[in-house]
Symmetry: C2
Subunit: 223 residues, 2 copies
DNA sequence: ATCCTGTTCAAACAACCGTTTAAGTCAAGT
DNA sequence: ACTTGACTTAAACGGTTGTTTGAACAGGAT
């Protein structure tokens, strides 16, 4: 089976963008590695920018579609009753987890691609992420509010922000996890990491303490 | 008072690197904006890479130095007794907070600089961050273990990883906070955000639940 | 006055960038 | 057989890149 020039270019672009970012990736790098002619990029995509936009769009859209699907499905099963925080964050994290999973663990190339796209200062890259967040605010935010009805909205917003920070930070830093914590078990198990991340996030969201940090010096005994 | 050519270059480099990253920042951009001659970069720093390394080194080193100082100080006050988790994370987060604070709130330029440096694939940039983590593992990690003596080391490591993810994610995503949550109060208050982040992290670290997510559908009632 | 050292300057260097061009290929449609 | 349209190709385009060069400048020491 032969792969089309277009797909060959897109595949290589994913790799190189994840490794070096937009500016440092040259079209000659892409076309040489893909084994296609330099001009075919401008022929099929119009420009370098359009190529990278198309590459990112193809990767991000399915994830967000799956997220909405999982949320709808959970709501259907609950009969419209408020969901558990675990179910909500499962719908957010599991499609992302699937997208970054290969047959043998994490897809480091794709993780780097996401990291780069989050930092890249470019109109499309920002609107692409912005688009997910409007979806999130409209669909997931009300569900979180229904599941934590007694929480102050301002406090809730901060905690949701930190939850997202933990999620995105975990992705961005993932390539360093092996170097930082070489003895960590289950490093390659995506579902295991997501389970642990959900536990961490839910604990932060349901924390009973509000306001300033007491910041006494001595430790209280904790289990 | 006149500012030296070297310092003028470094200041502009910080700005432009934060805005566009390493590759997309040209030396002509830097020297034009700084009002100095193009060749002065290679004269004072040797190369473009060396310039960016020096720029980052000058910014990161004081933060890590201050972190160790705060930890030592807290241990002196506690007489060597185990510290509260809040005190430990205060030592980690407060120097970072100071570094990204100007007279009127967050220093977005510097936040972007850190974000870029975390994703940039470059030998020095990686060893610079690596350096902090060896320091962290040798000094902060044992203190965390002393403060949570009953916790399984593997579980602890995962939670520390997520804590760092939340911290770095909060920095990287900070530029988007206004667009995502326009009605969020206290957005510009650095200390306030750090207080909230410490609460979030400590809740995640002290979470009593371990293992797989139960993931039932209906919400339990939470305060 | 002369030399020395550190710095600045305009100009040029070769290499590389994204994009365009025009000719060439090849299979399907008539 | 001929035409059409989609695609590929090598070569060139003008512009920009980081770096180097050698002359010019300034100020203190000899």
């Amino acid at each position: 089976m032969t792969v089309s020039t277009k797909d060959r270019i897109l595949a290589v672009t994913e790799d190189l963008f994840g490794q070096h970012g937009f500016s440092a990736t040259t079209l000659r790098d892409v076309t040489d590695r893909a084994g296609v002619n330099l001009a075919s990029v401008n022929y099929h995509f119009g420009s370098k920018e359009a190529l990278f936009m198309e590459m990112l769009r193809r990767r991000i859209e399915p994830i967000n579609r799956k997220r909405i699907e999982l949320l709808d499905e959970a709501l259907r099963r609950s009969g419209g009753a408020p969901l558990s925080l675990e179910a909500i964050w499962d719908a957010i994290l599991r499609p992302l987890g699937e997208a970054v999973t290969t047959t043998d663990g994490f897809d480091e190339k794709f993780l780097r691609l996401i990291s780069q796209s989050l930092v890249e200062r470019n109109e499309f890259f920002e609107t692409a992420h912005q688009q997910f967040f409007t979806e999130f605010k409209e669909r997931f935010s009300p569900e979180l509010a229904r599941s934590l009805p007694k929480m102050d909205p301002q406090e809730m917003t901060w905690r949701v922000y930190f939850s997202f920070s933990a999620m995105l930070g975990a992705i961005i830093q993932h390539q360093k996890i092996g170097r930082w914590f070489p003895f960590l078990e289950n490093r390659g198990n995506v579902d295991n990491m997501i389970d642990r991340l959900i536990n961490f996030i839910v604990a932060g969201l349901t924390n009973s303490r509000v306001g300033e940090v007491p910041n006494r010096e001595e430790a209280e005994v904790r289990s």
